[in-house]
């Protein structure tokens, strides 16, 4: 009886293999991300994290700048890539509330290649290099966080102090920030 049962199971499996769940093919977006990941050069200051390793279209990137005024911090960015990649750019957001002229309090990042200058020939490496650069050279002209930009423009030393205090979880100009120190 047990034998018949296992034969039955086998038969069902075979049937489901023939008609059942369709075998999906690796999508064009997956192929491209796979290629981009293999070309990623992260160095010692960056790390990726895949909450679900099978899903390579959604991951986070951690940047730990080893120089500049954001040194000592640990910054997290979420990457969300859709099936229309690389026609569409990846959607990148900072998941912490940080004090930075080019990143607003909602985590929007002002980086040209994430929007107006995105081209399908660009890859994920170009994006992470751009993000890293934002911590080395925060840019006060055309900011997303206007207060931070004014601060940087008018008093660089004061801005540095405010960055430190914001990174420590303190507040700057009445706005409290997340602690991002290692």
């Amino acid at each position: 009886m047990l034998k018949i049962w296992s034969m039955k199971q086998k038969q069902q499996q075979d049937e489901s293999a023939a008609t059942g769940p369709k075998k999906k093919k690796v999508t064009a977006a997956q192929l491209r991300v796979q290629k981009d990941l293999s070309e990623l050069s992260l160095g010692s200051t960056m790390k990726t994290n895949f909450p679900n390793p099978d899903d390579i279209l959604n991951f986070t990137l951690t940047i730990e700048p080893d120089e500049g005024m954001y040194k000592g911090g640990r910054f997290n960015f979420s990457f969300a890539i859709n099936q229309n990649f690389p026609h569409d750019p990846p959607k990148v957001k900072c998941t912490q509330k940080i004090y930075h002229p080019n990143i607003d309090l909602e985590g929007n990042v002002c980086l040209n290649i994430l929007r107006e200058d995105w081209k399908p020939v660009l890859n994920l490496n170009a994006v992470i290099v751009g993000l890293q650069f934002l911590f080395l050279e925060p840019n006060a002209s055309d900011p997303l966080n206007k207060e931070a930009a004014e601060d940087l423009k008018s008093n660089r030393e004061g801005f540095k102090r405010n960055v430190r205090s914001a990174m420590g979880g303190g507040s700057v100009k009445g706005q409290s920030y997340e602690r991002v120190l290692k």
């Binding site: 050279e137 925060p138 840019n139 006060a140 002209s141 423009k153």
Partner: protein, 564 residues
């Protein structure tokens, strides 16, 4: 939860919602023109291309259409015409197609006339109510000739349409002067910045914004509008070049390099967007303002030069415009400014410098218009908006000179007139579809000489029954037309080319006769799309219509526009 937002005071009306996707192209003015028009379709043959055209006019909301067709619905109609049903068999094609077309848009009025074309045309004012007339082949050439002459007296634009098998062709007869102001030029080509001839307010603005350029902070330096940068560097250039602006390509390249040198690269971005914009604009923006040949044609036109009290508003404005041009050597400033890297306030200020100059120019043209009106003692005052639209688009106005299409009368040869030379040249161009056009003329000749009962609708079609002998006849006619053309043009074509022309013409004739007067629904639908689009352009006086013949080859999926 935030409270719900109150509705806007001027939310879209239900009509704006329905027509949203097209209003973004031809705007409320175009829509109004479409809604005021009444289109007449004189239908014949399988009659599909005309009905498909109407479908594409009823959907966007043409005011009124009328179908003139005395044919009775047969079984064959049901296999090719989407706007007829089984229960209509034996009824009038015009009546039932009209009903089904009207269902597409309750805002459109539709009528039908089942009188034969000949008796309809016998009333001299029969065509007067219509804005535009569509005639489909086959039609008795004498009737077509009469119709064309009648329509021309009322200056009603007339389309003559062929659709046979995989091929189609239509010709447009527009009034002798058909001016278009709203041509919708490519936005890239429209910016007129006057950098080589700045007016005092613009120069002053640029000087202010570039004062102390070297000493500016990175932020300010990176936000000087590129127009101000170019004007600043032009002044520098002039001071070292005897007061001359860059004259030629070599000068411009050198000038470009001098602008690029001003760019700061030691800032956090490693460059400056406004400088990049300035450098990129040198070659295309530093050209002396000149007027296009289309504008020159308008200024030189007899209608523009000698005005009468009956002259239309367009020509009076054109005349005023030509006076402005004679005085200033430039057209009125359009006043639009492209987006550019700049602080909001600077950009808005600069935009206002352009706008106020444009208003100033408009005022000058308007005052000339008013003087002309008074001089001519015109009863109707030209709307200021019309003058404004003209000024805004002055560089891109276009005038089409309508010309009658070929009508082949029995026993007469096709005449090419002043187009003979060009047409003969086209014969040897493998990309041109002129030979297909000639094959259509051959079909018309065939019909003219095989008219069954003189009514036009029951003409004998080429390839109806004995397609092999009809093929031979149509081929022969086509070759004769080609010989006539070469003869009229007085050009010589070498032997090889001539035999190539002949064999291509034969192929087109064979393919046309193969269809035996049939319409293929796909080709009718495609041609109905093209014709409807041209009707919309003509009725709205927007965009640029076909001038004057369009040929489509559905075997190779190619088209040609020819002018006869």
């Amino acid at each position: 939860m935030t409270g719900t937002t109150p509705p806007p005071l001027h939310g879209p009306t239900s009509k704006e919602k329905k027509y949203d996707r097209q209003l973004r192209l031809w705007a409320a003015s175009g829509q109004a023109a479409l809604e005021q028009s009444h289109i007449l379709l004189i239908n014949s043959g399988p009659g599909v291309v005309g009905v498909e055209t109407l479908k594409n006019l009823v959907l966007p909301g043409v005011g009124h259409f009328t179908i003139l067709d005395s044919a009775i619905v047969t079984e064959a109609d049901l296999g090719v015409n989407f706007f007829l049903e089984e229960e209509h068999l034996g009824g009038f094609r015009a009546e039932h197609s009209c009903t089904l077309l009207k269902e597409l848009n309750p805002d459109v009025q539709g009528s039908y006339i089942t009188e034969p074309t000949e008796s309809f045309l016998s009333k001299p004012i029969a065509l007067k109510p219509y804005t535009l007339i569509l005639v489909t082949a086959p039609i008795n050439p004498q009737l077509l000739s009469k119709l064309s002459a009648n329509a021309a007296t009322f200056q009603i634009p007339t389309f003559y349409i062929h659709c046979i098998g995989f091929y189609s062709q239509f010709s447009i007869h527009l009034p002798p002067a058909f001016p278009i102001v709203d041509t919708h030029p490519d936005p890239e080509s429209t910016s007129d910045l006057r950098l080589l001839t700045p007016w005092p307010e613009l120069s002053q603005f640029a000087t202010e914004k570039t004062k102390g350029l070297q000493e500016m902070s990175h932020h300010d330096h990176g936000h000087v509008p590129y127009i101000c940068l170019l004007l600043h560097y032009l002044e520098e250039w002039k001071s070292t070049h005897d007061g001359q602006v860059p004259q030629n390509y070599k000068d411009k390249t050198a000038f470009k390099a001098s602008v690029a040198q001003g760019e700061r690269r030691n800032n956090p971005e490693g460059g400056e967007e406004n400088y990049d914009e300035a450098v990129a604009a040198v070659l295309k923006s530093l050209n002396p303002t000149s007027i296009s040949s289309a504008v020159r044609d308008v200024f030189e036109a007899p209608e523009c030069k000698s005005l009468t009290p009956e002259t239309s508003g367009f020509w009076i404005i054109a005349h005023a415009m030509s006076i402005f041009y004679a005085t200033h050597a430039v057209l009125p400033l359009p006043g639009s400014l492209p987006d550019m890297k700049a602080q909001s306030a600077d950009y808005i200020q600069l935009q206002n410098v352009y706008k106020s100059k444009a208003r100033h120019d408009l005022a000058e043209v308007l005052s000339t218009v008013r003087t002309l009106e008074k001089k001519l003692s015109r009863a109707v005052v030209i709307d200021e908006k019309e003058v404004e639209a003209f000024c805004k688009n002055a560089a891109h106005i276009k005038m089409v000179r309508g010309r009658p299409f070929h009508i082949v009368l029995p026993g007469e040869t096709v005449r090419w007139g002043d187009r003979a030379k060009k047409a003969a040249q086209d014969l040897t161009d493998p990309e041109s579809l002129i030979l297909l056009y000639i094959a259509f003329l051959a079909i018309d000749t065939f019909i003219a000489t095989h008219d069954v009962d003189g009514l036009g609708c029951a003409a004998k079609v080429a390839g109806g029954d004995d397609w092999e002998s009809d093929t031979e006849e149509v081929e022969g006619i086509a070759l004769k037309i080609i010989d006539g053309l070469i003869n009229e043009a007085g050009t010589s074509i070498d032997e090889d080319e001539y035999s190539e022309i002949k064999s291509r013409a034969r192929e087109y004739a064979q393919e046309l006769v193969r269809a035996g007067g049939s319409e293929l629904h796909n080709i009718s639908a495609l041609t109905g799309g093209l014709v409807a689009q041209e009707v919309i352009k003509v009725v709205t006086k927007q965009y640029i219509p076909v001038d004057n013949t369009c040929v489509f080859d559905g075997v190779r999926s190619k088209s040609s526009v020819l002018r006869f």
